[in-house]
Symmetry: C2
Subunit: 240 residues, 2 copies
DNA sequence: TAGTGGTCTAGACCACGCT
DNA sequence: GCGTGGTCTAGACCACTAT
């Protein structure tokens, strides 16, 4: 590992490993080389390699297991539930929602879609419309837009075969790992269509969650707007 | 430092330091002893002391500054803005809201208040009602309930002298440091009173943020419900 | 028994802030 | 120049997992 000064070694190691993760150098769920091997290959001490790996673990990009090794993080139900799904029952119960896809269509991105996905206007976008259920009742109406370039042919998949947890599909079938996301929340009013889906009166308040998701390499890999009935659920956030 | 096995040393050191912080052993903003001093006092290596201090820094309880020392974290405008206030202008502009207190009253806690503050029903509670402005317009109606035991006489303070940033007041005048908080968000409907304050039509959707704040020792030190006009602002959250 | 990550130590050197 | 936290190393030992 070179030493261009002023940039800590462990940061350089972390970035090297991150680049390999983003390249698909290791498959999701597979083991990374052990600390001594990484340290030897990159010419740093084991402590420095460890620090880089710990940083990646803190960002949920790898999982470290004592006695076993370090593994590329996968999008498990667990991770979806505790990191990417923030609606919780008012009694405190957490559960992943069911999913029913209404439509999947490809088309040229509108100006707004292009802006949100950071792709050229008119480039191929895939739009997904689905309902999600909590405790057996429809609680979320979701509109998802994907950059077509990353998910070739996804619009031709059978609607029923699209899994509840899309992030697992992105990862396994398209090699796109969602690394992090930014959410913007607003109170909105249910229009007639959303209200009908949610079993609410038109004009009822709904929580709108607007999420931009980023892949390992920093590219936007999904834009999703979820409109939620929060009459018996809430969005939970921790503040430090 | 004893070694009851199975509990890492750096965790014990971290807890010892946290206990001292909670005790008010060091004032907010003051410097902690340097690493070698802490290590010597507790009989651990400097590396172990460092790890404990890094953990506290990660939780925003202390601030480390190279060349200067480690300081007890203070509730600065900066911290309020980036850690405890999540409403952002839709254009991306962040700004702390202004504050106008409508009323401050003490009284016995209702059952609900007692539950939320984890105090006995009927114990003294202080209720604060205020409006907050963004870009010069009222955008938030806030109802705050405090456990009277922690803030002796706060209800007798001049309304106009209550600062915009209450957490600084809690810290400086009452020695109560807000360490972290849990927020629950819902979409709600503005009643006639809130709507009038916010300049909205009654029945308009508002974002309700229900926050429970915890002091360094883990006790609930505030319960706050903010109802926000999100027509030109949104609540921002990061997901990892 | 061998290999993995987790903890802990001791010490060197660097970058920064002060005086 | 001196004291602070930040980086980096080398090595010991522990706890866990597999075989």
């Amino acid at each position: 590992m070179e030493t261009p000064k002023s940039r800590p070694l462990y940061v350089q190691v972390r970035e090297t490993l991150l680049r390999r993760l983003a390249d698909g150098h290791w498959r999701a769920g597979s083991a990374l080389p052990a600390e001594p091997a990484i340290a030897a290959e990159l010419g740093v001490s084991q402590g420095t390699a460890r620090r880089a790996l710990d940083d990646l673990a803190k960002a949920n990009l790898v999982v470290r297991r004592q006695g076993k090794g370090t593994f590329v993080a996968e999008h498990t139900r667990e991770r979806a539930l505790f990191h990417f799904f923030h609606l919780v029952g008012d009694g405190g119960k957490r559960a992943l929602p069911g999913s029913r896809v209404l439509s999947v269509k490809a088309g040229p991105a509108t100006r707004e879609e292009a802006r949100r996905l950071a792709i050229p206007a008119g480039a191929k976008a895939v739009r997904l419309h689905r309902l999600r259920t909590l405790d057996g009742r429809v609680a979320i109406v979701e509109r998802i837009v994907l950059p077509g370039a990353l998910y070739d042919g996804i619009e031709r998949l059978d609607r029923a075969s699209l899994p509840n947890e899309l992030y697992k599909l992105y990862e396994q079938r398209y090699g796109v790992s969602v690394a992090h996301a930014a959410e913007r929340l607003k109170a909105a009013t249910a229009g007639p269509e959303d209200a009908a889906h949610l079993g609410l009166r038109s004009g009822s308040p709904v929580l709108e969650i607007d999420r931009t998701a980023y892949a390992l390499d920093g590219r936007v890999c999904e834009w999703r707007v979820s409109r939620c009935d929060t009459s018996s659920h809430h969005y939970a956030a921790e503040v430090v």
